[in-house]
């Protein structure tokens, strides 16, 4: 499909130009908002790797986000470690370790049960964070995390986040199109037939969770630069709910869906909260509308308009 390939290259090029030019055109406030959009887009892409490809609905990704955020905050404030790049590697590893533990218990579960168990885990983590005052600062979280050097200005933080998110997106894209990624899709479609094709369904789902939690951890670590701290709310189920919403809004059958979903969700929230306090109500209505009227999300709708089938998982 050569026309399609060209379309992707052109639109990626346009997007790249816009993303790079952004900080020179917008105010600091908006550059900050777009930094958050990038972070949540990565969180969404990490969940979508699990949800769109492997068909596992995790309602507990906030746990990985929070684990990495707290690891980052703790390492930067309580240890002598000041090289952020090392922390950026260690924090997602901690998140992936948590994924490895949770995975042992959830990889045999499906649908609703998978969602409930992962949700339960993130709430347990939330409780632990709130009580473990010495380590986590309890209810107040950890504040005042300083980043020296390259990560001090709003624009610098934005470009750093952009670079990391793009690298992670490329890696997720490569893994998604590898034999592993396609095996996950087969498992999503038909786990029984997959096992009759000698695919180890449980092991693949387990690994998918570890990959997903690692990249969600990257997003969580980047979040600390943006907010200068780590807070218990990151592990509360609503954060996980935000990440799921981003995926569904953008379209779980699309690789770029979470990027669109993150942009729409955060921009809408920013606009609407400047007019009314009732953002949660409006968000609820939006989610209902999406689920009922366009279950394939925004990218699914875009595919319909371009004459293709919305269910095909591609870009």
């Amino acid at each position: 499909m050569p026309g399609r390939g060209k379309f992707i290259w052109v639109s990626s090029g346009v997007a790249a130009v816009i993303l790079i030019a952004l900080p020179f055109v917008l105010s600091r406030f908006w550059v900050g908002i777009f930094t958050e959009i990038l972070i949540m887009a990565l969180a969404g892409m990490s969940l979508n790797f699990l949800l769109g490809y492997a068909g596992c609905l995790s309602f507990g990704h906030g746990a990985f986000f929070a684990t990495a955020a707290y690891t980052t905050a703790i390492l930067m404030t309580k240890t002598g470690l000041s090289q952020y790049l090392i922390v950026l590697l260690l924090a997602p590893i901690m998140a992936a370790l948590l994924g490895a533990i949770i995975g042992v218990l959830v990889s045999r579960l499906y649908a609703f049960y998978y969602a409930i168990m992962t949700c339960a885990f993130t709430m347990v983590l939330w409780s632990v964070i709130r009580r473990w005052r010495d380590m986590t600062g309890g209810d107040s979280g950890i504040v005042g995390v300083k980043f020296r050097g390259l990560l001090e200005g709003t624009n610098d933080v934005y470009f750093f986040t952009l670079a990391i998110v793009v690298v992670c997106a490329v890696i997720l894209w490569v893994i998604g199109n590898s034999p592993f990624g396609w095996t996950l899709r087969a498992i999503r479609e038909n786990p029984v037939r997959s096992s009759f094709t000698s695919i180890d369904v449980v092991k693949h789902r387990y690994l998918a969770l570890i990959v997903s939690s690692f990249f969600c951890g990257v997003a969580g670590s980047l979040h600390v630069i943006y907010t200068f701290g780590a807070f218990p709310e990151l592990a509360f189920w609503t954060k996980s709910g935000d990440i799921v919403t981003i995926c569904i809004l953008g379209g779980i059958n699309s690789f770029f869906g979470p990027i669109i979903g993150s942009m729409v969700l955060i921009l809408l929230e920013t606009f609407i909260t400047s007019y009314t306090l009732y953002w949660p109500f409006i968000l609820g209505v939006i989610i209902c509308a999406v689920v009922l009227l366009m279950p394939q999300g925004i990218m699914g709708l875009a595919r319909v308009f371009s004459g293709k089938k919305p269910e095909e998982m591609s870009s």
Binding site: P179, V192, S195, F196
Partner: protein, 246 residues
Amino acid sequence: MFFEVVNLQKSFGGLKATNNVSLHIKQGDICSLIGPNGAGKTTFFNLITGHIKPDAGQVLFQGEDITGKPAMAITRKGIARSFQIVNIFPQLTVYENIMVAVLSQKRRSFNFLHPAKKIETGEIDRLLESIGLTRQKNMLGGQLSHGNQKRLEVGIALAMKPKLLALDEPTSGMAVEEKAAILETIKSLIRATGCTVLLCEHDMSVIFEVSDYIWVLHNGAIVANGTIEEIKNNEVVQRVYLGGRA
């Protein structure tokens, strides 16, 4: 003995679906399992391919005891199965359906780095050609006609390079011309790959055309076995299944 089942038993509540079934298959044979509806053919298939565990008895494949092993392991050992009710990957294209099976057979399903669609393309295309689905390779599995979905079923099983191919009613739900066509395809595939086949069918014309040996199942138990001629002339079989005529 290439494949042997000894005193296999399975009950569901009060129903004895598999009642002390013993049978054997010689390597290279096309062996058929026939019986009226509810005889327990699909349960038997499920037991020997690892979908469900037997209550008692043994399943031996090339001398190895595979009783109660999971489907994934049994498939790895060389027994591949197609399903009576089409069981493919509906939202994947025909090419992707076969691709996933081939990648798994080649033990590359944990490969993170290479683009999957550039690997083993020759083998996948050959398989598609042999099941007659080359033209449909970019169609979604769920969009295929019933007959083509059945071909894809067999294709996925064949991609596993099985030594024993267990086909559960491969021609069910098909029109006469389609049946003849898929039968030809299956026969040529068997000739080409040399695999042993356990075939379960309702259509007696199919059975009498291809079988080297036949086992007859009724109410979960084997009531007769033999060559085509022996079965055609068997009184019990005539009464139970063929309705009194040969």
